[in-house]
Point group: C2
Chain length 349, copies 2
């Protein structure tokens, strides 16, 4: 257990912790005295029909979703909706490798799955808020993986689903890629099986991971058009790699990122139907709008289209952003306008 | 200096060594008593008009070009042409980090450039063979980078040029990617600044590099359609990563790969015109046919098309292969048929 200010309220903004008790994880191990971090915006109406659940992505927490996706000028308007933004388990803010006491701490923190995240969120939504219908579940990347999990596993509760830049089943290509990220951290001798005094001790491995993330996280056009200059204000490619990619990950906890990657590269709603992805997606009753990013090298539009074809009545709305997958962060002015228009459309139906 | 049987004639097949003397390298350092490995097939005709130069790619040597691209059933037919296949400098077979004596050995081997390769090949072609016109210069990937260098720097000597799966100037995206490969090796403590007793000591770093190569070297379709099963006969994704990718690089020398990567990520013929790529490519007089591979994630067709537009009279012939960049190795039956047809067309003009 180590102190890491990056995951404190001073950095993350105010959040609540919901006591999950002893959470039996999908593979059978139990995460004891587990707590799920979340924050809410807006007010739940009398018939509890205006609740929206927002999920979170790899390395991101509820804060970026609040800052970029939620507000009076967005489709996710707290003036109209009661918006719950849930952190992932193991994301540094919820119960996580670095903040959990022994014995389930650091290198001994249990392995989690996307299903465990959704089970925890389901407890929060039903037991804490007494909500049995969600007007919308929306999230990007790993957040989108959670959206698919909700739509398949709790189809009776999800009125609308909007997975952004995500697929329902991790691709084989991405399995190979995420393992390369894991190896970058775990190969740093300072990682030491997950036992280190400070995340900064593992900075060499984290830096290598940051560069590998950069190779697919941004699009080729982002590099070749030098958008790291025009969009991000960096002075050179090295300045971008050091000042954006490495700087972004530096304050984070290595075990937290590994915990999330373990989930990321195993996400697959097909397991709810014995591996039959079409059967699992066929159970979805939510009005579903899938929103790939056109230049995304993690979850390209053609793979999202394959999901769409298996979901009854689902639509595909391709969002344009030369930032590729990282466009999710709203760096490009036009990005959120497209997302807001698409979500507003979905919500008015 | 260490023994590595992978680069011996027993593994590589018969080759010659051309004595380059003291080769002054592009940045000014001198590689002393340098030797360029090469092999020839076919017979030089009386007017020396039937010579073809074949260049080589990263981690590959003249052997793979001989085995896959040259033969009586190929456009590069030794019955018609005098075919010179040149190894890269520093590729393990030519003068290289692991086979050169002190002081320019191992971690002290000088840094090379694509320009140095072509300077060495130019000496071989002109001084050793007395050839002043090449009917064709052809090569793939880093071999294609050398083709561009030839066509720009020795435009008077090159009648036809066929860069396969390569661009004239390294993309910014690929610069980031190749550095990730370098870091995978150099971060292995056993690499030790280039001083190790055996390349196998650096196997952890080499294995990590092999996985990162896999993330862009093959196409997404290759993974998702499980072509590692149908095309390569591997039983699982892990079997493919271990049995193909790691096994392929394992016998190689880490410093050799680093030497080649240093060249790879700096390739840019624009430097011959003060950084003006269009001006440099505008000098090409060779009949040029650029051959990208449709699923290539290193050198995608749209980037090759940008080169084509800057070369007088150049054509683009996109080769179909779901193996992506690795298609270069001719794993897919249809690949060489397309390459041969395109080269045969080019050679009959």
């Amino acid at each position: 257990m180590i102190e890491n200010g990056h995951y404190s309220a001073a950095t993350q903004g105010a959040f609540e912790l919901f006591d999950l008790g002893n959470l039996v994880l999908e593979p059978g191990e139990t995460l004891r005295r587990a707590r799920l971090a979340y924050r809410t915006l807006g007010t739940l109406n009398a018939d509890k029909s205006n609740a929206i659940l927002v999920t979170t992505w790899f390395s991101g927490t509820a804060k970026v979703m609040e800052d970029v996706y939620v507000g009076p000028d967005h489709a996710l308007d707290p003036g109209k909706y009661f918006i719950i933004i849930a952190d992932q388990l193991g994301d540094g803010v919820s119960t996580s490798p670095q903040n959990n006491p022994a014995p389930q701490t650091m290198g001994k923190f249990p392995k989690l799955s996307i299903g465990d995240d959704v089970a925890a969120q389901h407890k929060l939504v039903t037991e804490h808020f007494g909500i049995d219908r969600l007007a919308l579940v929306v999230g990007g990347s790993m957040g989108g993986q959670q959206v698919y999990e909700w739509a398949v596993e709790h189809s009776d509760m999800v009125e609308r689903a909007a997975p952004i830049a995500a697929t329902a089943q991790i691709s084989l290509h991405q399995q190979v890629f995420v393992q390369a990220l894991e190896e970058a951290i775990m190969s740093d001798p300072a990682w030491n099986g997950g036992w280190y005094a400070s995340g900064l001790d593992v900075r060499n491995g984290m830096d290598r991971m940051a560069r590998i993330v950069a190779t697919l996280g941004w699009s080729r056009a982002f590099y070749q058009e030098e958008r790291w200059r025009s969009v991000l204000g960096m002075s050179s490619l090295d300045d971008f790699i050091n000042g954006v990619m490495k700087a972004y990950f530096e304050p984070m906890d290595p075990n937290v990122l590994l915990c999330e990657m373990h989930k990321w590269r195993r996400a697959d709603v097909g397991r709810h139907a014995g591996g039959d992805l079409a059967a699992a997606l066929g159970r979805i009753t939510a009005k579903t709008c899938i929103m790939p990013i056109d230049h995304d090298l993690f979850f390209p539009p053609d793979e999202c289209e394959l999901d769409r074809a298996m979901i009854p009545g689902a639509t595909l709305a391709v969002i344009g952003s030369k930032e590729g997958h990282m466009g999710l962060n709203g760096f490009e002015p036009g990005y959120m306008a497209q997302v807001d228009a698409t979500l507003a459309d979905l919500l008015t139906d």
